[in-house]
Subunit: 141 residues, 2 copies
């Protein structure tokens, strides 16, 4: 009757997961097959823990940044430290630092791209207004 603090009832069925994260069952099963998730089994059915949910959040986030599932799988190991030895954690840290560098570079480039697009939009706006354009300005990589 009394609920234990953050221990037992913290599991979700596949449908609940799908609703909560806007993914299909197929996707979750696929991620499990790829060892990105590891839900516990109640008989044959999957029960997703908060660990699975945390990982799924990171997976979906990673995807939005263009990382492959394999990329993500490796980075994920950093986030759960239990069950991995010192060498594994070490490796996970290296990978994570690489990932971090990539993401920071990505952010820098994103800023450029945003500024670029804004400028182009502004130009296009004045262009539409005046119906007469100037030379296009482009910044190469």
């Amino acid at each position: 009757m009394t609920r234990k603090p953050a221990a037992k009832a913290e599991v979700m069925t596949i449908r609940e997961m799908c609703a909560a994260y806007d993914v299909t069952p197929r996707t979750l099963r696929f991620y499990e097959a790829k060892e990105l998730l590891s839900p516990i089994r109640e008989g044959t059915r999957r029960l997703f823990t908060r660990r699975d949910r945390a990982r799924l959040t990171l997976i979906l986030r990673g995807k939005r940044f263009g990382f492959s599932l394999e990329d993500i799988r490796q980075t994920l190991d950093l986030y759960d430290r239990d069950g991995s030895d010192a060498a594994q954690r070490q490796r996970a840290c290296e990978i994570a630092r690489e990932r971090l560098a990539i993401m920071e570079a990505q952010r820098a480039e994103l800023d450029v791209a945003i500024a670029d697009l804004k400028a182009e939009l502004a130009a296009s706006a004045t262009n539409t207004a005046t119906q007469r354009g100037t030379a296009p300005s482009h910044a190469a990589e």
Copy 2:
């Protein structure tokens, strides 16, 4: 008057493009087939103009942000104003603004992800240090 020697590099062969942008010929032909590039033809051969190069820069940039080629193709139309009528430019602007919103959201989330990863790295570092006495040699700010 003949053409300026400096302006000789107006067009590039496919090989030059490949070297300059680190892509394969197949990729460039593929992009042409998808109407992302439109090199001029010298007989049967392709010659890529600065317009193609500008577009290619944007294409590769877009890809790094996880956009599909089709997404990119549509946004690209904003960048060249010639050959499109008012309605088309209008539509391109709308698409570009959507893209812009996506990218700004992406930037915000990227900040979160970076902070997250940094925190996790820091935690993992202290964890490693506690366990084995190895000092964190280089931590990010």
